[in-house]
C-alpha cells in the first residue's frame, strides 16, 4: 500500500538530534543505540520515507565539521573524514593528484544533486554491495575508524564490509593508500547518470622498481557478491605476470576468467546473474589494460 501526497503527520514524528561535535554525537548514540544515523541522507531519508511508521530517533551528523577534511598523513596515506561528500572527493586537488581513481568513482555516484549530499562514510556504511567507492577503497587498502563513546577501533575495509553485525558505532574516518598512477575504475550501468552500477571494478597495478614484475596487484569488484570483494585468485594470477608483452595479455585474460569464477552474482531487476558474470570478465580485462598504460 503506497502512501500518497503530503504532509507528514505529527503522530509519526519523533525526536531529531543534530549534535554539534563528534563527542556529543557519540554520547547520543550511546543513549540511543537504535537511532537512525543520517549523514548525507540520500539513503537514510529514502528508507525513512519507505517506512511510514518508522519512529526511531534521528541523529543527524551534518554539524560534525571535524569529519569533513581530506588530508595527507605523515605515512604518505590519505585520511578522509566520513562526512566528505562525493562532490568534495571529485573536486579535491589532493585526491586528483594522489588518488585519481577515487575521484573517478565519486563522479559516477548518482547525479550531481546526490553527489552534493552523499558522503564517503555513508557510501561505505550502507554496506550496499555495489557502492561505487568501495572497489577503489579496497584497491587502496583502506582502513576505517569506528568510534563509540570513549572507544575507537580500526578495521580493514575488507573486514568491515564483510561484517554483518551492526554495532552502535560511528564510522568516522577512512584512511587509504595514495596511488597517483596505475589505477583504473570502470562501471557498467543501465544509464550514465542516476543509474546503479551493475558491476564496478577497480584495479591497481604497481610495477616493482626494476619495471619487470608487479610489486602490488589489487583487483576489487562490486555488484558481484553479497559485499564488495577482492578476487584473490585473479590477483595471484596477475601478480606473477610480467609488466608487458604477450604473457601479460594471456595473464590478463586468465585473471578476468578467474574473477568471473570467484564472483557469485545474483539476478535482480537491473541485470541477470549471467550478464553480471559476463560483464565482470569484460571490465576486469579492460581495467587491467587501462591501469597498465
Amino acid at each position: 500500500m503506497a502512501a500518497s501526497g503530503v504532509p507528514a503527520s505529527p503522530s509519526t514524528m519523533s525526536a531529531y538530534h543534530a549534535p554539534a561535535s563528534l563527542d556529543a554525537a557519540l554520547e547520543l548514540l550511546a543513549l540511543k543505540p537504535d537511532a537512525l544515523v543520517v549523514a548525507g541522507g540520500t539513503e537514510a531519508v529514502r528508507r525513512l520515507r519507505g517506512g511510514m511508521q518508522d519512529t526511531r530517533p534521528i541523529i543527524a551528523l551534518s554539524g560534525l565539521e571535524e569529519l569533513r577534511g581530506i588530508e595527507g598523513t605523515s605515512a604518505g596515506r590519505i585520511r578522509i573524514g566520513a562526512l566528505v561528500t562525493c562532490t568534495d572527493i571529485a573536486s579535491s586537488p589532493l585526491i586528483a593528484e594522489r588518488a585519481p581513481i577515487l575521484a573517478q568513482a565519486a563522479r559516477s555516484v548518482g547525479g550531481p544533486q546526490i553527489r552534493n549530499c552523499a558522503t564517503v562514510g555513508g557510501n561505505i556504511a550502507v554496506r550496499c554491495p555495489r557502492s561505487d567507492l568501495l572497489p577503489p577503497l579496497l584497491a587502496l587498502d583502506a582502513i576505517v575508524t569506528l568510534e563509540s563513546r570513549g572507544k575507537a577501533r580500526q578495521l580493514s575495509l575488507a573486514a568491515y564490509v564483510a561484517e554483518t553485525a551492526l554495532s552502535p558505532e560511528l564510522l568516522t574516518f577512512i584512511e587509504c593508500d595514495a596511488a597517483p598512477r596505475g589505477t583504473c575504475f570502470l562501471r557498467m550501468s543501465p544509464r550514465k547518470s542516476l543509474g546503479p552500477a551493475i558491476v564496478n571494478v577497480a584495479v591497481l597495478l604497481l610495477p616493482a622498481a626494476n619495471g619487470m614484475r608487479w610489486e602490488r596487484v589489487r583487483i576489487a569488484l562490486g555488484g558481484v557478491a553479497g559485499a564488495a570483494m577482492r578476487p584473490q585468485r585473479a590477483e595471484a594470477i596477475l601478480s606473477v605476470a610480467p609488466c608487458a608483452g604477450e604473457e601479460l595479455v594471456t595473464a590478463t585474460a586468465a585473471a578476468a576468467a578467474a574473477a568471473q569464477e570467484e564472483s557469485t552474482p545474483q539476478s535482480d531487476v537491473w541485470a541477470s546473474e549471467w550478464y553480471r558474470r559476463h560483464i565482470t570478465g569484460v571490465l576486469v580485462r579492460r581495467a587491467i589494460a587501462a591501469a597498465c598504460t
Binding site: 503506497a2 502512501a3 503530503v6 503527520s9 541522507g41 540520500t42
Partner: protein
C-alpha cells in the same frame, strides 16, 4: 521530549522560521510554506524535479530532512528573478522553448544556475553533466542545453544561437515562444498537486492485496477510528459502480472481487496524507484468493481462471475480434519463394510522466462539484465521471490544470470519482496525489502484444502476403483496448504494400496492469513485429534490407489493407534521407548480418 523542533533558514534571501518533525525539505516547502515550484515527482532522488539550492549546491529536496536546512540558505526558482525581471537563464529557457510541459523546468533552472555561477562559460559536455541529475520527459534535452549554452556564449561574446523572438506582425512560419512558457520558467505554473484549498483533506486508497481474489467482507471500522480520518468509502458508496468506455467491466471500487493489484478496495480522506494512508492500512478485508493468470495466451487456454464471467476473451464486439481481409492469402503464400512465420512479443511499458496523477475535488453549496485533474481527454472523461456519480453534467465542472507530461498515460478516469465522492461525503475539498509506485501499480501501461506474423515474399523481393494474428493483453478491464487494437491491426503491414492480407486481433483479460493509450497507440508494437520480420525476410532472400524496404514501400496511389487510398506517402523519401544521413552501406551491413 518534543517531537518537533523549531528551525530558521533563509529562503530566497528571506528568513523563515517553522516547526518541523521528520518531514523532508520538499514537504516543508510545498505544504507548510506553500512554495510549490520544487516538484514532487519520484520522491526518491531519481529525477531532480524537486531540485533546490542548499547554500550554493543543487540537492534533491526529497532526500533532505527539513531539519537539516536549519541555518542554511535555500534557493528555489522563485529566488532567481527579482520582481518582474526574469533571470537571464529564465529568459533564455523561454526564448529557446526549453520548457515544454514545465514540470522539470524549476529544477533544471537551478542546476543550470549552480553551474553558471561556478563556471560562467561551460562547455556542452559540462552543461550535460550539470543537468544529468534532472530528467526531462518532453524536450529530448537539446533545447535545454542550447538555452544554457546561449547564456555562456553571450557572456563570452560568441552567441551565434538563434533564440525565439517575440513576433512583430505576422506569426505564420515563425518559431514562437510558448504561451505558458513564462509560468513554467518562473515556477508559477500551478499543476494539480500544487493546488490547495481551505479545509482541504487528503485521500489515499487501499489497493488490493492480491492479483485475483473474491472479496467476502470489507471492515472499515478500525480505519475510521484513526484520529484525523474524515471518511472512508467502499463499493457500496459508488452510485454507478461500473465504468468503461467500450465495455463497462471495471468497478470504480472493487465489490465482488479484485482483479489486479491496482484495484481500489476502499478510499480514505483524512487531515493529511500519512493519516489517510495509515487508516487505509487498518482496513480489514477478507479475501478468498483465486488463481491468477499473467500471460495473454495462457489466459485464453480452456483451463485458465476466468477473470470475468464470460471468460477471458474481451467481448468488445459480437465477434470479440477485429478482422481485416484483402485478396487470397493462402494462394499467395503458396506462390511465395520465401515464407517466414514468427511470433513477436512486446512488454508492458509505463508512461512515466514526471508529474504523477493527482486529483482534487471541491463541493459547492448548491450540490455542484468541481474536479481538477490533469486529464488529456477532458470532455469524454467528464461524461464518464458524471455517469459514475449519477450527477447531471450541469452539476459537474472538470478543470484540467497544466499537465506535467501525459503521453497517453493521463487518458483514463482514475481516482477522480473517488475524491469526488469523498468531497461530497465530507463537504470539504479532497486531494489525492499518487506516489511513483502507484503510477506503476494503478495507471495504464502500453499493451503487451503477442503477434504472430507470417510473410510470403516472391523471389524478386515483392511481398505477396501477410498473415497476422495478434493477442493483446488488456489487463483485467477493457478500457481503451479495442481502439488501440484497431489501430494496431490497421498498421500491421507497416508502411509496405501487401495485396493479400489477413489480419486478426483479439484481446485477453489478465491479472496484469490495465493497458491503455500510449503514444503510437498500438502502432509501436506492430512496427516491432513488422520490421523484425522485414529483416528476417531480406536475410532469407539474400538482399539488402534497405532495398527490400524501398521496393515494397507504399507509394502514392496505393491503398492500405483497409482500402484507404493514399496520396501523400513519405516512407520512400524517409528511407532515402535516413540512409543518406547514416551513410548506409549494404556491403558493410552484410557482414554483420
Amino acid at each position: 521530549m518534543s517531537n518537533s523542533i523549531s528551525i530558521s533558514f533563509s529562503l530566497n534571501n528571506e528568513s523563515r522560521s517553522l516547526r518541523v518533525g521528520r518531514e523532508t525539505l520538499l514537504e516543508a516547502l510545498r505544504t507548510t510554506l506553500g512554495v510549490t515550484s520544487p516538484k514532487r515527482a519520484c520522491d526518491g532522488g531519481e529525477c531532480g524535479a524537486c531540485t533546490v539550492l542548499l547554500d550554493e549546491r543543487p540537492v534533491n529536496a526529497c532526500l533532505v530532512l527539513a531539519a537539516a536546512a536549519a541555518g542554511r540558505r535555500v534557493t528555489t526558482v522563485e529566488g532567481l528573478s527579482s520582481g518582474p525581471t526574469l533571470h537571464a537563464l529564465q529568459q533564455s529557457f523561454h526564448e529557446h522553448g526549453a520548457a515544454q510541459c514545465g514540470f522539470c523546468t524549476p529544477g533544471m533552472l537551478l542546476s543550470a544556475k549552480a553551474l553558471l555561477d561556478a563556471n560562467p562559460e561551460p562547455s556542452i559536455a559540462e552543461i550535460r553533466e550539470a543537468i544529468s541529475g534532472n530528467l526531462c520527459r518532453c524536450t529530448g534535452y537539446a533545447k535545454i542545453v542550447n538555452a544554457i549554452a546561449a547564456l555562456g556564449a553571450t557572456r563570452s561574446g560568441t552567441n551565434d544561437s538563434s533564440p525565439l523572438v517575440a513576433p512583430v506582425g505576422g506569426s505564420v512560419g515563425r518559431r514562437l515562444p510558448r504561451l505558458d512558457g513564462l509560468g513554467h520558467v518562473t515556477g508559477t505554473t500551478r499543476y494539480t498537486d500544487d493546488l490547495a484549498l481551505p479545509g482541504m483533506l487528503y485521500a489515499a486508497p487501499l489497493y488490493s492485496a492480491h492479483d485475483h481474489a473474491r472479496i467476502h467482507r470489507v471492515d472499515i471500522s478500525r480505519g475510521l477510528r484513526v484520529p484525523g480520518v474524515a471518511a472512508i468509502i467502499t463499493a457500496a458508496d459508488v452510485p454507478e459502480n461500473r465504468q468503461g468506455l467500450t465495455v463497462k467491466d471495471q468497478p470504480v471500487i472493487a465489490d465482488d472481487r479484485v482483479r489486479h493489484r491496482g484495484d481500489v478496495v476502499a478510499f480514505v480522506a483524512a487531515v493529511d496524507a500519512n493519516t489517510a494512508a495509515k487508516a487505509a492500512s487498518k482496513i480489514h478485508v477478507e479475501y478468498e484468493i483465486l488463481p491468477a493468470v499473467f500471460d495473454p495466451l495462457a489466459a485464453l487456454d480452456p483451463g485458465a481462471p476466468h477473470i470475468h464471467e464470460g471468460g477471458n476473451l474481451v467481448p468488445f464486439n459480437k465477434l470479440k475480434s477485429i478482422r481485416i481481409r484483402r485478396g487470397d492469402v493462402e494462394a499467395a503464400l503458396s506462390a511465395s519463394a520465401v515464407v517466414i512465420d514468427e511470433t513477436y512479443r512486446t512488454p508492458p511499458i509505463e508512461h512515466a510522466a514526471l508529474e504523477p496523477h493527482a486529483m482534487l475535488a471541491a463541493p459547492s453549496a448548491n450540490g455542484a462539484l468541481t474536479i481538477w485533474t490533469p486529464n488529456q481527454v477532458l470532455f469524454t472523461r467528464s461524461a464518464e465521471i458524471a455517469a459514475i456519480l449519477r450527477l447531471p453534467m450541469s452539476k459537474l465542472r472538470v478543470i484540467a490544470p497544466p499537465i506535467g507530461g501525459g503521453f497517453g498515460g493521463k487518458n483514463d478516469v482514475t481516482h477522480e470519482p473517488h475524491v469526488a465522492l469523498l468531497a461530497l461525503r465530507t463537504g470539504r475539498p479532497v486531494k489525492c496525489t499518487w506516489s511513483r509506485a502507484e503510477e506503476f501499480l494503478a495507471s495504464s501501461v502500453r499493451h503487451p502484444y503477442v503477434m504472430r506474423h507470417t510473410i510470403g515474399v516472391a523471389r524478386d523481393g515483392t511481398i505477396l502476403a501477410k498473415l497476422v494474428d495478434t493477442i493483446g493483453d488488456a489487463g483485467p478491464f477493457t478500457n481503451q483496448s479495442p481502439a488501440v487494437l484497431a489501430v494496431h491491426c490497421i498498421f500491421s503491414c507497416g508502411p509496405y504494400r501487401v495485396d493479400n492480407v489477413s489480419i486478426e486481433g483479439r484481446l485477453a483479460y489478465t491479472n496484469n496492469q490495465i493497458a491503455g493509450a500510449y503514444r503510437g497507440y498500438g502502432v509501436v508494437q506492430a512496427a516491432f513485429a513488422v520490421e523484425s520480420q522485414m529483416d528476417a525476410a531480406a536475410q532469407a532472400l539474400g538482399i539488402d534490407p534497405l532495398q527490400f524496404r524501398r521496393q515494397n514501400a507504399l507509394r502514392n496511389g496505393d491503398t492500405t489493407p483497409t482500402g484507404q487510398p493514399l496520396d501523400a506517402v513519405g516512407i520512400g523519401e524517409c528511407l532515402d534521407r535516413v540512409s543518406d544521413a547514416v551513410g548506409w552501406s549494404a556491403e558493410e551491413i552484410g557482414g554483420a548480418r
